[in-house]
Every structure is written in structure tokens, then in C-alpha cells.
């Protein structure tokens, strides 16, 4: 279904709006869950007793033959109430209210006082902003731009959009900003060579192919620059007591894809029937396939989808006639569709809870960011993929299958010398303190410090 034109109308909400709304929500106390309702029998009993007591009181007051002591007992509360209302004895109702007032919270939007203006940067959590400021204070000062009036247009894919948007939100300068647009094919837009409407830079999670390079050249763009910003990486992990697990990319695809090759009819696809790992490969454990990770429709979920399924699809379906000549749309349908029968489940467990959940459910595999996993390696074991462990070195050199580089491309003559471009690159790379704990930076892994310094020096030096 060629529906790019509908996807491309999405845009990110303004960072100021997001921060302001987040502030309002954070100020809400967690509401107390409603108390369990009493059973209908108990309610009926109480109602019955109340009605009976009221009937008795009425009878005691009105009937002539009721004993005097009973009549006095019924009348006593009425006398007390009369004394209270006349002001003698006990507190006046008005005094009682003011002394007992607990500042009840009114309902409705009037809850929220006007929030003072957000601090340094909008669009990111205040803690992350403080960390970013502390970590990159010197660099931010260096990047204080001259007053220029420019908009740096950035085209990004769905999995790099949030990173680019965060970096753009960090850059504050009078009359200058980076504007990030979602694009299904940023390379095509960059290399189209149009004088107007083309982005100045693109942020993508793959290197420029030879075909696109030729396209750029043919359209007169011979001075394309490439800047490596970092990597995106995920780790599959499970409880240590389950022991090591080695999977191939093909295994992952056959476990988690919506459609897989029909083992009885080569060349055809069927809805995924594999419920246990040994159905995929008898050498694997006979335990149920259960994976928890980001929600499929989210940017993090899209990242996981692409990393987990892409590599295995080509291998698993190489001999399948169903994918020959299917084109890009068919590839998306077959090679990038999660199974939807609950064996891959979205999880919003707080970080501290993920470890406990996986330890208590040792057959479940969790999808974590590289940063998350490095902090909890004492409790969880990474699943090796194609015999390769998720280490910093393997992520940096691109050999770890569930990782890929993040790159920026631009037309040299249009961007070098631009303070907006230099600052945008710097903010995109300075991720560790800013994005490490920020959901929007999910999966991003910084470059090695030396490599980062070398690249930034290069970007700053070329005028």
C-alpha cells in the first residue's frame, strides 16, 4: 500500500508544549485507587437497619403507648442537635469546617497553577537538561553562535527522527534553528538536487549506498559529506540462571515475524506457527517463545523491528519464491511485521522492574538498550546473535548484528561554515548524558571519545 504521502504529514509536537504538559502531569499526585465496594448484601443490611431505626424513632415519637424511657432515648439526639443549632454547646458548623479543612483538591482543569517558564531547554526532562548542561557546558559555550538568520532543514527517518528532534530542541539561538522533517526516503530528497525544498542535511541509520551516491553525482551534488554520529544498538537478555542462549538472525526472524516460510510448501508463507524455540531449531531449548520490548508502533519499537527482523528475513526467505520481485512495499509487509499473537509483548515496565521481571520469569527474553544492559549485567545474560556478543567494540565496528550506525549527510557547500550545522552535529553526538536516560534517545550509543573529537574537529575546521 503506497501510503507514504499520509505518513509524511506527521510532525513532532513542539518541545515547549511537551515539557509544559509533562510538568503539569508530574505535579499530579497518584490518585488513590477506589476502595473495593462492599458487597450488595452488606449494603442491603446497612440500609435495612437504617430504615428500621428511622421507623422506630418515628413510632416512638408519635405513638402514645410507647414507654417514656424509649421516647427519651429517641429524642436525645434531637435535643442535642437543637442545642448545637442554637449555639449552645459544641462547635458551630462554620467553625468546624474551617478548623477541619484539608484543602480539598477541586476537580477539573482548574487544578493546575500556571507553570513557571521551563528552564534552560524545553522538550527534554529537566534532569536530562541539567545533565546535558553540566556535561557539555564548555562545548555549548563554544557553540554560542553569531546572530544569523537561518533554518537548517533536516530530513530524518522514523527511527532517527526523535534523535534529530532532541538535538534540534537543544539548539537555541536568535534567528536560527534546525527544523526536522519526517521522511520515508531522506537520501532521495537530498540527492534530488532541487534548489528549493531539499533538506540541507539528512539523519539516517545506514550508510549511503553506491546507487544514491551516483544519483547525487548525476544531479550535480559531488560534495556530499558524511558524519558518523553514533550507533543504535539493542540487546536481548534473559535471567542468568537460564544459562547462555545463542541465536542466529534467522532464528529471531522465524520466532518473531508475522509470516514465515511454510515448511511443508517451500516458496509459500504462512502465519507464524512457532511457539517454542525448538520448533525453529531442534538444538534450541524447548521453552516457549516469549519476548518483551517496546511497543511496536513506537519509534523504539520500529527500531527493534528493523534490527531484529531485517537481518534474518533475507536469510530465512532467501529461497522463498514469495519474496522474489516483491519490491520495497512487499518487503515491508513480509520482512518487517511483528507477529501479533502475544508472543512479542510490549512492556512499559519501569527500568528497575525489568530486571526483577526477567529474573522471576526466566524463559522470557527482554529487549534492552545497550546502556541498560551494561548496567545490569550481573543479573542478566545477553543472547549472542550469530555468535557475536554485544560489546562496545562490536557495536562500534558494526559486527554486532543488532546494531547499526547513525549518520548525517549534507551538501558541503551548503552546510560547512554554518554555525547551526556545527551545533546540530555536536548536539547529535553529545548523547551520553543527554539521551542515556531519556526515552526519546532509546537505543543510541555514543561514539568513542577519540573518534567523536576527531569528527568534530573535522566539522569545525572545514570552511
Amino acid at each position: 500500500m503506497n501510503d507514504d504521502f499520509l505518513h509524511q504529514m506527521r510532525e513532532a509536537p513542539g518541545p515547549e508544549f511537551l515539557a509544559e504538559l509533562k510538568g503539569k502531569l508530574d505535579r499530579q499526585r497518584l490518585p488513590v485507587p477506589p476502595r473495593p465496594r462492599r458487597s450488595s448484601f452488606v449494603r442491603g443490611l446497612i440500609t435495612g437497619l437504617f430504615l428500621a431505626g428511622a421507623g422506630l424513632a418515628i413510632a416512638a415519637v408519635t405513638l402514645d403507648d410507647v414507654p417514656a424511657h424509649l421516647r427519651a432515648l429517641v429524642r436525645a439526639p434531637m435535643h442535642l442537635l437543637a442545642r448545637v443549632l442554637s449555639g449552645g454547646g459544641g462547635q458551630r458548623p462554620e467553625q468546624g469546617n474551617s478548623q477541619g479543612h484539608h484543602g480539598a483538591v477541586p476537580l477539573g482543569p482548574a487544578w493546575f497553577p500556571t507553570h513557571p517558564q521551563a528552564g534552560a531547554s524545553a522538550g527534554v526532562p529537566p534532569s536530562a537538561t541539567r545533565q546535558a548542561t553540566a556535561a557539555s557546558g564548555a562545548t555549548a559555550a563554544q557553540d554560542a553562535p553569531a546572530v544569523v538568520s537561518e533554518i537548517l532543514t533536516v530530513a530524518a527517518t522514523s527511527t532517527t527522527f526523535t534523535l534529530a528532534q532532541l538535538a534540534a530542541g537543544q539548539y537555541k539561538a536568535p534567528n536560527a534553528r534546525a527544523r526536522v522533517e519526517l521522511s520515508a526516503d531522506p537520501f532521495m530528497r537530498l540527492c534530488a538536487g532541487q534548489p528549493y525544498g531539499s533538506p540541507e542535511v539528512i539523519e539516517v541509520a545506514q550508510r549511503m549506498s553506491a546507487d544514491y551516491s551516483r544519483s547525487c553525482t548525476n544531479n550535480g551534488l559531488r560534495d556530499i559529506i558524511e558524519v558518523r554520529l553514533g550507533s543504535q544498538a539493542i540487546v536481548l537478555a534473559r535471567a542468568r540462571q537460564s544459562g547462555p542462549l545463542k541465536l542466529s538472525s534467522r532464528d529471531l526472524f522465524l520466532a518473531l515475524s508475522r509470516q514465515v516460510p511454510d515448511p511443508t510448501q517451500p516458496g509459500h508463507l504462512i502465519n507464524n506457527p512457532n511457539l517454542t524455540w525448538d520448533r525453529i531449531d531442534p538444538a534450541l531449548p524447548a521453552s516457549p517463545i516469549e519476548v518483551i520490548g517496546p511497543e511496536p508502533g513506537s519509534p523504539a519499537g520500529q527500531l527493534v523491528l528493523e534490527l531484529v527482523l531485517d537481518a534474518g528475513c533475507k536469510d530465512a526467505l532467501a529461497a522463498t519464491a514469495a519474496i522474489r520481485g516483491i519490491g520495497y512495499r512487499g518487503y515491508e509487509e513480509i520482512c518487517r511485521s511483528w507477529r501479533e499473537d502475544g508472543l512479542y509483548r510490549p512492556s512499559y515496565l519501569a527500568r528497575g522492574r525489568i530486571v526483577d521481571y526477567l529474573v522471576n520469569n526466566p524463559t522470557v527474553i527482554g529487549v534492552l538498550t545497550f546502556e541498560q544492559f551494561t548496567r545490569i549485567q550481573d543479573k542478566l545474560l545477553a543472547v549472542s546473535i550469530d555468535g557475536i556478543e554485544p560489546t562496545e567494540a562490536n557495536v562500534a565496528n558494526g559486527t554486532y548484528p543488532l546494531s547499526r550506525g547513525v549518520y548525517m549527510y549534507g551538501v558541503k557547500r551548503r552546510v560547512l561554515g554554518s554555525p547551526t550545522f556545527k551545533a546540530f552535529v555536536r548536539y547529535n553526538m553529545d548523547a551520553k548524558s543527554l539521551l542515556g536516560n531519556d526515552p526519546n534517545g532509546w537505543g543510541f550509543v555514543e561514539l568513542d571519545a577519540d573518534e567523536r573529537t576527531a569528527i568534530l574537529t573535522n566539522v569545525d575546521a572545514k570552511h
Binding site: 500500500m1 503506497n2 501510503d3 504521502f5 499520509l6 505518513h7 509524511q8 504529514m9 506527521r10 510532525e11 513532532a12 509536537p13 513542539g14 508544549f17 511537551l18 504538559l21 509533562k22 503539569k24 502531569l25 499530579q28 497518584l30 490518585p31 488513590v32 485507587p33 477506589p34 482543569p109 493546575f112 526532562p125 511457539l275 517454542t276 524447548a286 521453552s287 516457549p288 516469549e290 517496546p294 511497543e295 511496536p296 508502533g297 513506537s298 519509534p299 523504539a300 519490491g327 512495499r329 501479533e340 502475544g342 508472543l343 509483548r345 510490549p346 512499559y348 515496565l349 519501569a350 527500568r351 522492574r353 531519556d438 526515552p439 526519546n440
Partner: protein, 181 residues
């Protein structure tokens, strides 16, 4: 080997990562309203109302009944319905036509934007079909979740969307569609 039944697992409120939920879902709710309302201001307003309502009642969220995004988008749908009903009652058509809108660069940009163009193309579609477009392309929901929100079957959702996209594409690019490319 049977799969363990985790359908009744109930997570307590403090086990959920609310920051992650917000970061993931706020842009999607925002875009859902953009696709329904076609103005960013309305989208921000309704996104705020949705999250305020959801956050007030998040202790009532039951993990065993629905995914969180399904629960949140049900709230968003109700917020949208309330808003449209109020618009209908408080702004009669005659009054709307007489409102002189101030011409501003922002307003001009909004009116000529792709989203406004989409709103014009979908204005005559049934409510259900406009909702499907917003849930699929604004909220980035899959057909299964959309089916749960709209009461349609999953295959019905896919069929209707396919037909809608084909028709919109033809109108958008001003030529007869020759099939999926």
C-alpha cells in the same frame, strides 16, 4: 507446550515507566488529533486534555484488559467526541460562516498545508473512515489495535484502509491510481 497465560497479569501503577509512556505516546496522540482536527492548536489542546484525564485515572488502568495505548486512545477518542459535540452546539453554522478569521502567515500556512488539504479531501467521508485514517497514520496504531478501538474486525480495518488510501492517493496526485507501486 502451552504458553503460560499472562493475560491476567496486573501491573501495579508504580511498576510502569510513566516517563517512557509519555515520551512514546504524547507525539502519537498529538498526531492523532492533528489528523482529525487539522490544526496544531486544537491538537495541542486535546492532547493536553487526554493526558490530564488519563493521568488522573491511571490508577484505574488494568493491564489485563487492554494495552496501555488502547486504553489511552479510548480516552483520546472520547475527548475528541466531547470537543466536536461542544463545537457543534456552541458554534452554529451560520455563526461560523460569519466569523472573520484574521489572516496571518500562520493561518495561511495552516490552510495551505498538506494536513489541511487532507482535511478537505476527507471532509465528506463517513466519520468512521476519518477515524481510521487518524488512528492508522496519525497515531501509528496497527490494525489489531484499531479494530479494538473501532469495533471492526482486523481484516475489515485492513480492507477499508486499503480502499481509502487508494482513493485518497488518486485524488492527492490528481490521477487514476494504477495499483500499488
Amino acid at each position: 507446550m502451552g504458553q503460560p497465560d499472562r493475560s491476567t497479569e496486573r501491573l501495579s501503577t508504580d511498576e510502569l515507566d510513566w516517563d517512557a509512556l509519555y515520551a512514546d505516546l504524547a507525539p502519537r496522540v498529538y498526531n492523532y488529533f492533528r489528523y482529525r482536527m487539522a490544526t496544531n492548536a486544537d491538537a495541542e489542546e486535546l492532547t493536553s486534555r487526554t493526558f490530564e484525564r488519563a493521568w488522573r485515572s491511571r490508577a484505574l488502568y488494568r493491564h489485563d484488559l487492554a494495552g496501555f495505548s488502547t486504553w489511552l486512545f479510548k480516552i483520546a477518542q472520547n475527548v475528541g467526541i466531547d470537543y466536536r459535540n461542544r463545537q457543534r452546539f456552541h458554534l452554529p453554522l451560520e455563526a461560523a460562516s460569519n466569523v472573520a478569521l484574521e489572516a496571518t502567515p500562520e493561518r495561511d500556512a495552516e490552510l495551505s498545508s498538506d494536513l489541511a488539504r487532507l482535511a478537505r479531501l476527507t471532509a465528506k467521508l463517513p466519520e468512521r473512515e476519518r477515524e481510521l485514517i487518524a488512528l492508522k497514520y496519525g497515531a501509528s496504531l496497527n490494525n489489531r489495535v484499531i479494530a479494538g478501538l473501532t469495533g471492526l474486525s482486523e481484516s475489515n480495518v485492513g480492507t477499508v484502509l486499503h480502499r481509502l488510501v487508494k482513493s485518497l492517493r488518486a485524488q492527492w496526485f490528481g490521477r487514476e491510481s494504477v495499483g500499488d507501486e
